[in-house]
């Protein structure tokens, strides 16, 4: 991409000659992802256009009941304790952050008056602080005013290790101060290119100080409000049965005019994804179904059925199903651990083997025969937002070429058809969790490998064991006592800085850190570490994106992992319901603007 071209486009948008949307569209056409493009504009002071969402109802209320079906039910309603997405979703009905992320990766103000940028003085030039102006006249559901004190309190609450908040990661490294009753400033220890983390999106929901003040630290579990939320959101709390359902009613004092549309809201949980898809798409009993992890074939059949009442909505996000290649030796024990960083893999340390494996993953077939719309073949590790997506990588599936690479690398076929070099047979063990699509995916890889002369043993582990952090169990994904493994890594924010930590040398999972490190492949490179460190301090978004693209290319071309398919979000939605979904925030992030077309 031409930097000059980019700057002139942004300049045009700034001068008002071209609309912001048009610029975003053109930038996307140039190969940037939408969220990236919009972040560039925000950085340059071109604010998101208000009213980009068409909200048609002329008054609040009158919409009847809105029924959401989640096949995993929320078990608690304090956003700072949310264990999984389900809990965040339940909390998000009642609580709001300062801003949320839309599908294009734009920040949309919620409790904030405006999105901070350089122009309005919200962002400091040195990148060490961000100042949020809060919306005035916002009231908690119990009538108390929402002020800067509440925001500061949330930082104190979440950053206290004794509270054991799951959001601590977003708050522990910042300090927050009150400037005046409707302004707060978040200070960073070092220049922070990705400043929109604390108080934003899934990690940023704000709880009221006056109800939680007495319950910080170790007392946090005793707060009644953990189960009876009092928020600022479009719906007020009615009742909650953990693990079953959440109910709410319209908040008549909501701080946005003519909203919300529905009179009551219900989030019902439990059951399984297939019947949830049925209840929305086929029978229309419910309006919205979350996270439909269902084979695309079934979804299509439901959608095409006579009298279908709903449809499937696919929302791009950053999650990726990847095949990891172990850089260390999983079969030798050193100092009480296998896959120790002191070893190297006897077979996979040969670049020829890695390169051949990359050519033996038939991603097209995986997409076509297994995932359909719910898993898109990819050669990149970062697949969204578009501004971070590399154009320089490519992938192909070719058994012949893979065989050639192995042949040139000195791997000769033995009498049993298995390639050998220096007395070592090319035999690999490939593990994943028990899940029908993954087992099919394993079979596709194994078949191709066998044709190329690689013997592959497949192993599958129960998900509850595989994904557990049980230090005593040898079969967890973090221990990686295996040659290859496959699972989905999630990227929850439209910025890859957290996501890309998983290849840092300092993050290598090992016995010393109880396998809590994020670097599971144990792949490491000084060049990568340097690029990451540079990106951490780079305030120019264009240069920063280039650094992340470089990191992606290092990982992909170095065959640390073989990207397989990226997994967009899949929801079921009634044909009449209008809802704006995003891959970067909760499904109900924009609940206030949901309405039913009559």
């Amino acid at each position: 991409m031409n930097e000059e071209h980019l700057r002139s486009l942004i300049g045009a948008a700034k001068a008002g000659r071209v609309s912001r949307r048009a610029v975003v569209r053109r930038l996307v056409g140039l190969g940037l992802t939408a969220p990236f493009a919009s972040l560039l504009l925000t950085h340059a002071g071109v604010a998101a256009e208000p009213g980009a969402f068409a909200y048609k109802p002329q008054k609040a209320g009158g919409g009847g009941a809105l029924k959401l079906l989640y096949w995993q039910a929320p078990t608690l309603l304090n956003p700072h304790f949310a264990v999984g997405t389900k809990d965040q979703e339940g909390s998000r009905i009642f609580y709001e952050p300062l801003a949320g992320w839309d599908a294009d990766g734009n920040l949309v103000p919620m409790l904030a008056e405006e999105i901070p940028d350089i122009e309005n003085g919200g962002l400091s030039h040195d990148g060490r602080s961000v100042t949020w102006k809060l919306k005035k006249d916002v009231k908690w559901h119990d009538g108390q005013p929402f002020t800067a004190d509440d925001v500061v309190f949330n930082w104190e609450y979440a950053s206290d290790p004794a509270t054991a908040a799951t959001t601590i990661g977003s708050y522990q490294d910042v300090t927050v101060e009150k400037i005046d009753p409707s302004t707060v400033r978040v200070n960073f220890k070092k220049p922070m290119p990705f400043w929109a983390d604390a108080f934003v999106g899934t990690q940023g929901m704000i709880i009221p100080k006056h109800l939680f003040e007495a319950y910080t630290g170790a007392k946090s579990r005793d707060a009644q409000t953990n189960l009876k939320p009092v928020g600022t959101g479009p719906y007020r709390f009615v009742d909650f049965d953990p693990g079953d359902r959440v109910r709410g009613e319209r908040n008549p004092d909501y701080h946005l005019a003519n909203r919300p549309y529905f009179d009551t809201i219900e989030m019902k949980g439990g059951g399984d994804a297939v019947s949830a898809a049925r209840a929305v798409i086929q029978t229309g009993e419910y309006d919205y179904a979350w996270n439909l992890q269902v084979e695309d074939e079934i979804l299509q059949r439901l959608e095409k059925g006579a009298g279908a009442k709903g449809r499937v909505e696919i929302t791009p996000g950053g999650n990726i199903e990847q095949i990891q290649l172990n850089s260390t030796d999983p079969w030798t024990e050193v100092d009480g651990e296998r896959s120790s960083i002191k070893t190297t893999h006897p077979l996979l340390s040969d670049p020829a083997v890695r390169q051949a494996l990359g050519m033996l993953v038939d991603r097209d077939s995986v997409q076509k025969y297994i995932y359909g719309r719910t898993g898109v073949a990819t050669g990149n590790f970062i697949n969204n937002p578009a501004r971070f997506v590399s154009k320089d990588t490519h992938w192909e599936f070719s058994i012949d070429k893979a065989s050639e690479v192995l042949e040139q690398g000195g791997w000769k076929r033995g009498p049993d058809g298995i390639r050998t070099k220096d007395g070592k047979q090319l035999k690999l063990v490939f593990q994943t969790s028990i899940n029908a699509p993954r087992q099919k995916n394993q079979a596709i890889v194994k078949q191709a490998c066998q044709k190329a002369g690689i013997e592959m043993e497949l192993k599958s582990v129960t998900a509850s064991v595989y994904f557990s952090s049980d230090v005593a169990n040898p079969d967890t994904y973090a221990k990686f006592y295996c040659d290859m493994q496959m699972y989905t890594t999630t990227m929850t924010e439209p910025d890859p800085s957290r996501f890309m930590r998983q290849f840092l040398t300092s993050e290598i999972a090992a016995k010393a850190n109880k396998w809590q490190g994020r670097n599971i492949t144990r792949w490491h490179s000084a060049e990568y570490d340097d690029a990451f460190a540079a990106a951490e301090g780079e305030l120019d978004p264009v240069k920063r994106a280039a650094l992340f693209i470089k990191m992606n290319d290092l990982v992909v071309n170095g065959q640390a992992v073989i990207p397989d398919v990226y997994r967009p979000r899949v929801s079921g939605i009634s044909r009449q319901l209008r809802a704006h979904l995003t891959g970067w925030d909760n499904d109900v992030w924009d609940l206030r603007n949901w309405y039913r077309e009559t």
Binding site: A165, T166, G243, D244, G270, S275, T283, K514, Q516
Partner: protein, 319 residues
């Protein structure tokens, strides 16, 4: 009698203790981690999961955790759910009414089918009615509930649009409409469970009545010229149903324990679905409480069945 009861209750104490030790050990040995989801989330630093483990005492040795649990249980503290961060007894009490309603009515339905059909089949063995009833009973308890449940959904919800798929504990309607809606949503789960249970009970009732109906005193009653209906109800059924009463009493704990599979299929928020979600989330305190309460109920109803048996059949003496 009092001494017998006292002795049985005393025996129950060590058995409950044994059950709780076995349950706790099995759960402690089972793989999995209640905070596993946190560990794989890149936004949550690893210290959070470690802090939570320490806070809930998960790093203590198993015997110490068991002792803590036992002492708390004796004080009436059922524990604290890791996942919901509330007390376990509140979770269970929230689920109890729905379970009692759905499973309870399915047991009543089962009895209403099993008694008349079983008795009538036995009075006319090998008649056409008996043959048909027998065949249906075999089909009934051979088909698993997860199959009939999905079949019912397909027929009554998807194709005919008569009944809702999703069970809701809170219905918006009031008055008669509430009863109608409740009936509509409970119809499928109750029918699935009731038909299954009814089918197997029919077989028991039939064979119990057949055993009695051939006895000499029945022939005597008939010879005295007593009407057939009176013979069956007053002389036959009264004696034949003693084993059936035991059977029903022994199946009562399931009314509280819920039906895991059926509750999951219809999204009935009962104890069974609480148990399965807790198992999947490795929420040990909840699993422990539910299974332990279940064990208590089994022991209690066993005792009740024995006492009932003696009351119905005075030939049995307690020692």
């Amino acid at each position: 009698m009092t001494r017998y009861l006292l002795r049985r209750l005393l025996i129950a104490v060590p058995s409950l203790l044994g059950i709780s030790i076995i349950l706790y050990t099995v759960l402690a040995l089972a793989p999995g981690d209640p905070f596993g989801e946190l560990a794989s989330n890149p936004n949550v630093p690893p210290q959070v999961a470690l802090a939570l483990r320490a806070k809930f005492g998960l790093d203590d040795p198993v015997w110490l955790r068991y002792l803590h649990w036992l002492v708390a249980m004796l004080h009436g503290d059922w524990g604290f759910s890791f996942v919901s961060r509330i007390d376990v007894d509140r979770l269970i009490l929230q689920r109890l009414p729905t379970t009692l309603l759905v499973i309870g009515s399915s047991q009543i339905v089962a009895l209403l089918i099993a008694l008349p059909v079983g008795v009538y089949s036995a009075t006319r063995p090998y008649s056409v009615f008996d043959q048909i009833a027998n065949t249906l009973a075999f089909i009934g308890f051979s088909l698993p509930t997860f199959f009939t449940g999905i079949l019912f959904i397909l027929v009554f919800s998807v194709t005919l649009h008569w009944l809702p798929i999703v069970y809701r504990a809170d219905l918006a309607a009031t008055g008669w409409r509430w009863y109608w809606e409740e009936f509509r949503q409970a119809a499928m789960p109750v029918a699935v469970l009731g038909l299954f249970q009814g089918a197997s009970w029919t077989r028991y009732v039939r064979s119990a009545v057949l055993d009695v109906i051939r006895l000499d005193y029945v022939t005597t009653a008939r010879a005295k010229g007593i009407a057939e209906f009176a013979v069956v109800t007053r002389h036959v059924v009264r004696n034949a149903l003693i084993p059936v009463v035991t059977l029903v009493a022994l199946s009562m704990p399931t009314v509280f324990g819920g039906a895991i599979v059926t509750e999951q299929i219809f999204r009935v928020p009962g104890i069974g679905s609480l148990l399965i979600t807790s198992i999947l989330a490795n929420d040990t305190p909840v699993i422990m409480a539910v299974t332990f309460v279940f064990a208590c109920l089994v022991i209690l109803f066993n005792l009740l069945a024995d006492v009932l048996y003696g009351w119905l059949d005075p030939r049995i003496v307690y020692r």
